[in-house]
Subunit: 301 residues, 2 copies
DNA sequence: CCGGTCCTTTGACTAGAGTCAAAGAATGAC
DNA sequence: GTCATTCTTTGACTCTAGTCAAAGGACCGG
């Protein structure tokens, strides 16, 4: 994982960067902000995509776009002046202001989308259909991997809010998937995955928790992997695999030589992943109501 | 070729655009222009990469970067003031000013490169080695196809300077590759590829000619493809194939039902390409000193 | 109800990016 | 030599983007 990056990979990456920013990046900005400043265009777009039915708070806009409070305040006021946006107080917290698009604002965003589509279409039209498919495939792969690369998996105290958030979502997920439902008392106690006894990891995508995984001591020298979960928005990136690798590395750091895990019959994709990651099926190693398959992997430094 | 672009392709393209500009684009700019304005950083980079031994003229910089003359003038003067650049008169045309990097300027560009490398490394480090390779592969493919998409193949008068430039380079190429050399009197006369008799196409990448191809009438209803050439900088993009397709479309437009071509024994990659494009080998159809293989393709509307 | 914290607004700036027009110096065609 | 053209320089602007600090209203815990 931390093997040094080869210069060829760096060179390929930079070649692409240059090519892309020159050909697309510049155009992009010019297209989007054709008759209004780019900052406003971006702001409108963000309100449209991130805003719920009540709109979105200025506070959230600020953190999402990384803007200065004063700057944002002025920009929204300008947009309000042009009738693109309405500002209202937050129903519960009067310090917050909510921004919502007006019909005119929605029309503007639609026009923005039309332009962005036109830009993409213009580029793709220059290619024969089979090459178009090749290009979009490559872009989809690249986007997937770029997202994955930006996600960090960090050890976190199992009591921390981010850990609880993930486990709650995990429990809801299982409850929906298991025919018999899922009882959250089955979740591992925080003490069992803290300190000497184990560890808890949370995956963050830009400070937002998007996955988790726990490791606990089963017997001296053997660990158990539990509660590997990935947020629906972050699935199909290969994140589960990455969390698994992190947990294995942690076990190895503690000189545990084997990790085991169990899984429910309905989770067939998970089983496929475990096998692909070097896990082999073993007989039951414990009693666990939701378990129907058991796996193990020997760790080598 | 001009089949309409599917919405899924457009969506994939835009998803990637968003992902890339958010994650890399912004960083890129911040990294590069860390202690100097972004415009100056870009300018330095351009002088370093596009400048020859004598430097590069302001005129060329202007067109390459699409800058206003006054803006550029001031920027170069500022760089000169900081000892990054020296300005001198063009040896032959005293209106032109040449910009060349000083050692300090080169050091600055080196530092820029170091930062860009660090950025790329930082992203790639977040991925396991096999995924790194996947990402750079995808990026290489995408860059190749983006370049190809930006190239336009246009009909051009065979007397035009761009046509002659390409044919000169083509002749030099062949002269270097054929053991017996190449005599440029073998080049087709402009009249033979004009009007009713035929057509000449030049491929442009941002107004720079990077390839060509000719079509001429062989017999009523049959065309001959000649002088398909691609600039060394634009090889391995699939441009030759594209030029070939353009020539075939032109033949079809003239209701010619078959196209033929011959090729020299040394040009084995060309032969592979012709076969891959649906050409089949046929007996000799004419006398041509440099020909050793003959191909034909029947055209269907 | 008091003090600290959070969110927004406002005023006062700075710097970068870019535009436009006028003017000056060279060049090239006639 | 003259005139139109081509490049560059200069002056005078505009607009966006962004920063910083002060101030004021709202909330929350004690």
């Amino acid at each position: 994982m931390t093997e040094s990056v080869s210069t060829e990979h760096v060179a390929a990456f930079r070649r692409f960067n240059r090519c892309f920013t020159r050909r697309i990046g510049v155009l992009n900005d010019h297209y989007l902000g054709q008759d209004r400043p780019l900052g406003e265009a971006r702001l409108l777009f963000e309100i449209a995509t991130a805003g719920g039915p009540d709109g979105i708070s200025l506070r959230e806009l600020r953190t999402r776009l990384g803007l200065d409070a004063g700057y944002l305040s002025r920009m929204t006021k300008r947009l309000q002046g042009r009738g693109m946006v309405v500002l209202s107080a937050h129903p519960e917290d009067n310090r917050l202001r909510m921004a919502r698009l007006t019909p005119a604002g929605h029309a503007e965003v639609k026009e923005q989308n039309r332009r962005a589509d036109a830009l993409a279409t213009g580029v793709l039209e220059g290619l024969a259909p089979d090459l178009r498919a090749q290009l979009t495939d490559a872009m989809t792969t690249a986007a997937r991997l770029l997202r994955l690369a930006a996600i960090t998996v960090k050890p976190v105290d199992a009591h921390a809010p981010d850990a609880r958030t993930c486990l709650d979502a995990y429990a809801d997920d299982l409850d929906a998937r298991f025919p018999e439902g899922f009882d959250r008392s089955d979740l591992v106690a925080p003490e069992k995955v803290s300190g000497e006894a184990g560890a808890f990891f949370v995956a963050y995508e830009e400070d937002r928790p998007v996955g988790c995984g726990a490791l606990r001591r089963l017997t001296p020298g053997a660990g158990e992997i539990k509660h590997v979960w990935v947020h629906p928005d972050a699935r199909r990136l290969g994140l589960a695999r990455r969390i698994l690798q992190t947990l294995e590395a942690e076990a190895l750091r503690r000189s545990w030589t084997v990790v085991r895990l169990d899984t429910h019959a309905t989770l067939s994709e998970a089983q496929t992943m475990y096998r692909a990651c070097g896990y082999t099926e073993i007989p039951a190693y414990g009693e666990h109501v939701y378990a129907s398959h058991w796996f193990e992997k020997r760790l080598a430094p």
